[in-house]
Symmetry: C2
Subunit: 217 residues, 2 copies
């Protein structure tokens, strides 16, 4: 089965580059998060709100992964963070070598926390180590409460789950307790934040955690 062998080799090369990134970031005292979700769950908005709230308290550098466009990087830059855009030109996930190249454009001495916003996709990004210290999966109250059950790998490899768009709960059939229950059945150690980027509800606890995480706790 040459297909499987080659796929394993590609992942092994990726793992090697990811370890190099992890060591380089550790040497600079920079902690890194890899944020993943479906398209439109609110990763970029969550980052915008976090950067604004943490201004002066935490220097966040962002690597924006998108299939096309630099619209998200422009939003993040406007919010006040150092930003590098990666366009995958059709590829469905980020790989470690893309992060290595992007890091050359970020001043790590002026960075406390590196956030990598992955391509919007609940499947493929879960397989690719980017050298991060923790993985965050964002789900939203409008995308159905069956997502942990239907995409278990993403929830198995994450350390943190954010449930976003709580402000829309009155208008949709979404059972937050069911999402928590299914996600924790897959991954009992998952840390869970429930919030709304629109109203600000829950953002303080999330930002406090970002500060704690960036300090290495």
């Amino acid at each position: 089965m040459p297909k499987v062998t080659i796929a394993q080799n590609i992942l092994a090369v990726n793992e090697h580059v990811a370890q190099e990134i992890r060591q380089a970031l550790m040497a600079r005292g920079v902690r890194a998060l890899n944020i993943m979700s479906s398209p439109g769950a609110g990763k970029t908005t969550l980052l915008e709100r976090s950067i604004e709230r943490l201004r002066g308290r935490l220097a966040i550098g962002v690597i924006e992964g998108d299939v096309e466009t630099s619209a998200d990087a422009e939003r993040i830059e406007a919010a006040g963070a150092q930003t590098v855009q990666i366009n995958t030109r059709g590829a469905c996930h980020l790989e470690a070598h893309m992060i290595r190249d992007a890091l050359a454009h970020i001043d790590l001495t002026a960075t406390d926390l590196l956030v990598i916003e992955n391509v919007g996709n609940l499947v493929c990004p879960a397989a690719w180590d980017l050298g991060e210290d923790a993985r965050v999966v964002v789900v939203s109250a409008t995308e159905g409460d069956d997502k942990p059950a239907k995409y278990p790998q993403m929830f198995a490899i994450a350390q943190v789950m954010v449930v976003n768009k709580l402000d829309l709960l009155p208008y949709v059939d979404y059972d937050v307790q069911k999402v928590r229950r299914h996600a924790l059945a897959i991954n009992p150690n998952l840390r869970i934040f429930e919030l709304s980027c629109r109203t600000g509800e829950g953002l303080e606890a999330w930002c406090d955690w970002l500060i704690t995480f960036a300090r290495g706790a």
Copy 2:
């Protein structure tokens, strides 16, 4: 570049199987749709509502593609359609050989229209021909109006775009005209339906089109 060669071979084999499926369906007078979207845009609910409304008028057979679980197939079966579940066990898209195997479990003589619900993913499924006659991309009013610009390939290969969850427009920042404009810039021939599966708004025009499409028009 062995990686590229092998990828091309895999796609060429897929194309060959897809053509076999297309010919087999044509011989039985069955037309086929491949429905794609982000996770949670509402593909399954759209199918449920369509099957209920078209009962007695159009015999719909459904192939349900999911990474895990048979929850969607159970919903579709309860709505009254012949259903086969494919679980990809980690794979991010359906491939033609999966459809060929699934078709062995569908009575095509009792089917007017075959609907294939792909894995929730706006990237990878766009590259895989499943032997369908047309491709439908579903977007929803809660996932941001930048999706055509950010995932152009999906909109380039689709013949139809459905904008779902119109009932939530009062509560989100979503510019339907911008979505139409960006999608049509990528694909000027795209047929567009705007609807809400929750209120039923727009479902009649969509169901009328399904009947016309199933008749080969």
